[in-house]
C-alpha cells in the first residue's frame, strides 16, 4: 500500500504552519499523528498535494486549566490526554473515552485534535465533543475563530474547517460537581471501531430522593456525524434512581426490544427478577429505561459488516441505558 506522491513540509512554528497551509490551497492536508490520515493515503482514498506536519509543534501540545474549561492542545496525544491528572480530575469523560481509542501504539501517536478533525463518526471522541459542548479554536491566516462542537461536525469525515484552517486547541467545559460519567463502547474486537458508543454525563441530586437532574448523551457511529441524544436528555431529567439501574447486563430490567422474555416455557424471565416492573411500566428503573428507548430517535446509523441500522438502533437504546446507569452510579460515588 503505497500512497500517491505528495509534498511534505514540517513548519517550525504555528505561524509557519498557517502560512504553509495558506499557500498550499485546497489540496493541502494537516498531518499530526497520522493514525487516521496515513491509512487513507496508503489506500489511495486521499490525494493531498502537500502534507503540513504539525506533529512536533510544541505550541499545539499541552493541557491547560483555564478556569471554566480545560484547553487541550490539538497535537496532544491520546496517551497524554488519558494520563493527564487535569483531564481525569476535571473532565473524566474525555479520559474514559480516549482510553478506548484503538490500541496503545495508536494512542501514543494519534492526537486529540487530529482525531476530531478526521471527524469519523465511528471515532470515540466526536460523540464526547458534542456531549460536552466542546469548542474548537481554529487558526488561519485571517485570524482565529471558535466553533462549537455542534457546528463543527458537518458530515462523514467533513468538518467546518475551511482550507487553510487548523485546530490549535479544544476547549472542554468543566461541568462542576455532582456529575458522573461513562463511555460505553460496543465493539467486536479490542482494536475495532465502535459498532455503537454512548458517552454519558449525568448530574445526580440526592435532595428529596436520588434522581437525575441533568444528563448529556452523545452517540458514536449512529449517523454521518456524532449525535447528541437530546430526547433522552430531556426524558431522563428527574428520573429517580434506586441504585441498581443500568448495571452492565446483570441488573438491567425490561425486555429486549420486543423479545418475549416472559414467554411460557423455558425462556429466561424478566431480567429484573421476580416482582419487578416490566419494561415501560411505572417505577424508577422504568423511567431510565424508558428515556433510553428514545436514544435512536432521529439517528440514521450506517450499515456495515458489524451491524445493520436496526441492530445499531437497538444497541443505542441498550447501551444508553447502561451508560446512564453507570454514570449515575459513578455520580453517587459507587
Amino acid at each position: 500500500m503505497i500512497p500517491a506522491s505528495f509534498d511534505y513540509v514540517r513548519p517550525a512554528s504555528l505561524e509557519e504552519a498557517v502560512a504553509a497551509l495558506d499557500g498550499a490551497g485546497e489540496e493541502a492536508k494537516v498531518l499530526s499523528g497520522g493514525q487516521s490520515l496515513l491509512p487513507l493515503l496508503r489506500m489511495r482514498l486521499s490525494y493531498p498535494s502537500v502534507l503540513v506536519d504539525v506533529g512536533r509543534l510544541e505550541e499545539l501540545r499541552g493541557i491547560r486549566d483555564e478556569g471554566g474549561h480545560l484547553a487541550i492542545g490539538a497535537a496532544a496525544t491520546h496517551d497524554e490526554v488519558v494520563r493527564s491528572p487535569l483531564v481525569n480530575a476535571e473532565c473524566p469523560l474525555v479520559a474514559l473515552a480516549t482510553a478506548t481509542v484503538a490500541d496503545p501504539a495508536v494512542r501514543h501517536r494519534g492526537t486529540f485534535g487530529g482525531s476530531l478533525a478526521h471527524a469519523d463518526p465511528a471515532g470515540d471522541l466526536p460523540a464526547v465533543a458534542v456531549a460536552l459542548d466542546m469548542e474548537f479554536v481554529i487558526r488561519s491566516s485571517s485570524g482565529e475563530r471558535i466553533v462549537a462542537a455542534r457546528d463543527f461536525f458537518v458530515d462523514y469525515l467533513e468538518t467546518a474547517l475551511a482550507p487553510g484552517e487548523i485546530i490549535t486547541e479544544i476547549r472542554v467545559p468543566k461541568l462542576g460537581d455532582g456529575w458522573g460519567f461513562h463511555y460505553e463502547k460496543f465493539h467486536r474486537t479490542a482494536q475495532a471501531w465502535a459498532t455503537v458508543g454512548v458517552a454519558a454525563a449525568v448530574r445526580v441530586s440526592t435532595q428529596g430522593g436520588r434522581h437525575i437532574e441533568e444528563a448529556r448523551v452523545g452517540l458514536t457511529n449512529m449517523g454521518s456525524t456524532p449525535v447528541r441524544a437530546t430526547e433522552v436528555e430531556a426524558a431522563v431529567r428527574g428520573a429517580e434512581l434506586n441504585g441498581q439501574a443500568g448495571t452492565n447486563g446483570s441488573g438491567g430490567g425490561g425486555s429486549v426490544n420486543g423479545h418475549p422474555r416472559s414467554q411460557e416455557g423455558a425462556a429466561p424471565g424478566n431480567g429484573n427478577g421476580a416482582g419487578s416492573a416490566p419494561h415501560g411500566g411505572p417505577g424508577p428503573r422504568g423511567a431510565l429505561r424508558q428515556a433510553s428507548e428514545l436514544a435512536a430517535e432521529g439517528t440514521s446509523p450506517p450499515t456495515d459488516l458489524h451491524g445493520g441500522p436496526g441492530y445499531r438502533r437497538h444497541l443505542a437504546r441498550v447501551l444508553t441505558y447502561r451508560a446512564l446507569g453507570t454514570a449515575a452510579r459513578s455520580a453517587l460515588g459507587g
Binding site: I2, A4, R188, N257, A266, P268, G273, H306, G307
Partner: protein, 801 residues
Amino acid sequence: MTEEIDAGMVARRIAEDGDLSEPAPGRNEVGAARRRKEDARLVTGRTRWTDNIQLPGMLYVAFVRSPMAHARVTRVDTSAARAMPGVVAALSGADLAGEQGSLPCAWPVTEDIVLPDHPPMAVEEVRYAGEAVACVIATDRYKAADALEAVEVDYEPLPAVLDMVKALEEGSPKVHEAGNRSYVWKFGTGDVDAAFRDAPVVIERTYVQQRLIPSAMEPRAVVAETDGDFFTLHSSTQIPHILRIMLAQVTGIPEHKLRVVAPDVGGGFGSKLQVTAEEVILLLLARRLGKPVKWTESRSEGNLTVHHGRDQIQRLALAADADGRLRGLRVDLLADMGAYLMLVTPGIPILGAFMYNGIYKMDAYDFTCTGVFTTKMPTDAYRGAGRPEATFAIERLMDELADELSLDPVDLRRRNWIGHEEFPYTTVANLTYDSGNYEAATDRALAVFGYDKLRAEQADRRERGEPVQLGIGVSTYTEMCGLAPSRVLGSLSYGAGGWEHASVRMLPTGKVEVVTGTSPHGQGHETAWSQIVADALSVPFDDVSVIHGDTSSSHKGMDTYGSRSLVVGGIAVVQACDKVKEKARHIAAHMLEASPDDVEFAGGTFRVRGTDAAKTIQEVALAAFAAHDLPPGVEASLDSEATFDPENFSYPHGTHLCAVEVDTETGATRIREYVAVDDVGNVVNPMIVEGQVHGGIAQGVAQALFEEAVYDAEGNLLTTTMADYLLPSAADLPEFTTDRTETPATSNPLGVKGVGEAGTIASTPAVVNAIVDALRPFGVKDVPMPCTPERVWRAVHGGGS
C-alpha cells in the same frame, strides 16, 4: 498407557525460567521444553525474509488487478505506464500468453473433473475480483505503484456467480464454458438407507462454513533471478520442493536449472501451500528481462488474492436410536472452488470425507461432495483443511442430538465413542485408528473445567432469567495427521506421494548437520529435530543444526502441511540417525579391533562390551573423515540418509470444553473458560506443543466469532483490510487452560501424532456449541458463523429460526 501432566503449567514455568529449558542431567532431550533455537533471529528479523533480499539491479513488480468479479477483457493498454518514470516494462496477460502456461492442480479428484485452464495473468476473461490482468516493472516499488494507475484496461462485464446453490441451477450464468459443476465425489460404507429407515431420531441440519482468509504474519513475497541459464526463485512458500517441480512443468525451465528457496517464512496456515500466479510470472519476468525481480504483496492485495479457505455448505443427517446410539450419517457438501482449481483445491473437502464420523461408532456412512465454481478467489488448504469442517459438523450434530434426547452432551458422546480397549479400531470411514483414550482425555477435561459447577451456574442463571446467560460447549475431536501414506494418496488421485526425507551428517569436528525435506514456517523444526538427533546420537543439543527450505541443499522432500512434519519428517530423521550409528559402530569396531557385534553404543561412546576399550562418536566421525583406515566396504565420512513413508495416518484426539457468557440484550459473547486436553501422543517439546495448541485455538475461535470473507452482490470483496476482516488479538481471547494425556501412536517409533492443526479443528465447534447451549431456552438451535453480536442477538430475538 496414559500419563497425565499439567502441560500448561510446565510451559509457563519454562517461559519464566530459562534454565528450565534444558533437560535435567541424564534426562532425554526429547520431552524437554527447550526454548526454540530459531526464535532469536526470527523475532528480531535478523534473517532472510524474502522481502529482505536485495540484489544488484533488482526491479520491482506490481500487478494491475481486476476490479470486477467477471468480465471479458477487451483492451489492455500499457503504453502510458511504460512512459512513466522508472518503468522498465509493462505487460498484459496477452503479452505473456505464449509462455505463461496454466497454474497447476495436482489433485483431480475424479476422472471426469472439470479442470479449466488457469492462466497466471488473465488474457481474455477475468473470473474473480483481484485477478491479475497486467503487471508493471519499475526501478523501485513506489514507481511501480504509481504506474499501475496509468495502465488502461477495458472490461465488458459478465454476470457474477456468487451463490453455490444458484450456480448449480439450470440456466445459471457460467464461470467456465464447461459449467459450474467441477466434480461430484462420493464415498460410503454400510447400508445407510437401512440405518435411516425406521430410525427413532433423525437430526437434519445445514451448516455453512464461511469463507476465510488465511492471514499469515508475513505477506507473500517472491524474488526471481537468473544468470541467463540457471534460475533461482525465492518465495515465502511452505513447499519449495513441490514448487520447483511444478514451476519447471509450467514454465518449461528444466528442473535441474531451477533452484527454489524458502528462506525463513513467517507463517502459512496452508496459504503458502500453493503455486501462485505471482511465482510463475516473476520467473518469466526474470527470464524475459534478465534482471532480478521482486514482488511483495500488500495486506489488501493479499486478502484479495491469497487463496481462501473453507466455504462449504454442509447438508447433514444423523440417525440414532432412542438411547442415543448412532446408526448412520449422511453428508452432502457443496464446496466452493472459487474461479479455478489451484494446487489442491478439489481435494480439501475430500480430506474431510474420512473424518465426519469423528470418534464415534456407527453402522453406515454416506458422503457426497460437489465442487462448485463461482467468480471468487479460489479456495484451497487452510489450517485443518477438511477436518475442521468435518469435526464442526459431527460435534454440532452431537450437541443437537443430545438436546433432542435430553441427554447431557458428554454422556451422549460416551455412549458412542470408541472405547480405549477397542483400539486399533477400523471406523465406518475405513480408517484404522491405531490408538487413543477418549475417556481419559474427557475425564481430565471435565475435572479441570469444573463441568458440574458450571452446569449448576448455568441452571441458576436460567432460573433467575439473567440477561447474561451461560453456555457450555463440548468438542471431542480426532483428526488424521501425518500426510500421508503414499499409496493412500495415490488411491485418492493425488499427484504426489507423502514420504519425507532426511539426511544426517556428523562433521569432522563432531558437530551435526541435519538436512530435512520439511519446510518450517513457524513450527520450530530446528529445535525439535535437534532434540531428536541429540538423543539419537548422544550429542549436545547445541551441536546440531538443521538445514531446510533450499532445493539445492535439501534436494528432496515433500515439505510442510497437514501436521506431517514430525510424524513423517521427524521419523526420517530418526531413521537417518539409526543408519549413522550403525555405520559408526562398524568403524568404531574396526578402530577397536573388535567385532561390530561386540560393540555397544551408550552415552555417546562405542564400547567393546565388558572392556574399557572405547571411542566417542566424535572420534569416530574424525576417523571417518580422515579415512586412513576404514573397514572394507565402508565409505568415508560419517553420514547417512533415510526416506520414510508412513503405513498409516496418525490420530491425535482430545476434549475441548468452552464456557461462553452471552449477553442476550446485545448479542455480545465472552469466552469465560476454555479447557483443552489434547492427546498428541508422545511429545518432543512441550513448549512447542503448547504454542501450537494456543495458536490453533485462537484460529478456531476466530472462525467461530470473528472472521469472514464477504463479497458483495457484484462480487467485490468487502473485507480487504484488517478493519473489515476481523482477526482477534490476545486482548480478545481468554486465558486457555491446556493439558494433555499421552497415548503414544503405534505407527511410528517416536509414538508421535502431530499437533499443528488440533487446536483449530477442536475449538470452532466448542465455541459455537457453547453459544447455542446458552440460548437453547430461547429456542435457538443454531447461530451461523461467525457468531457476530448481531447474529446472536437476532437468534435470541427470532428464536429457533
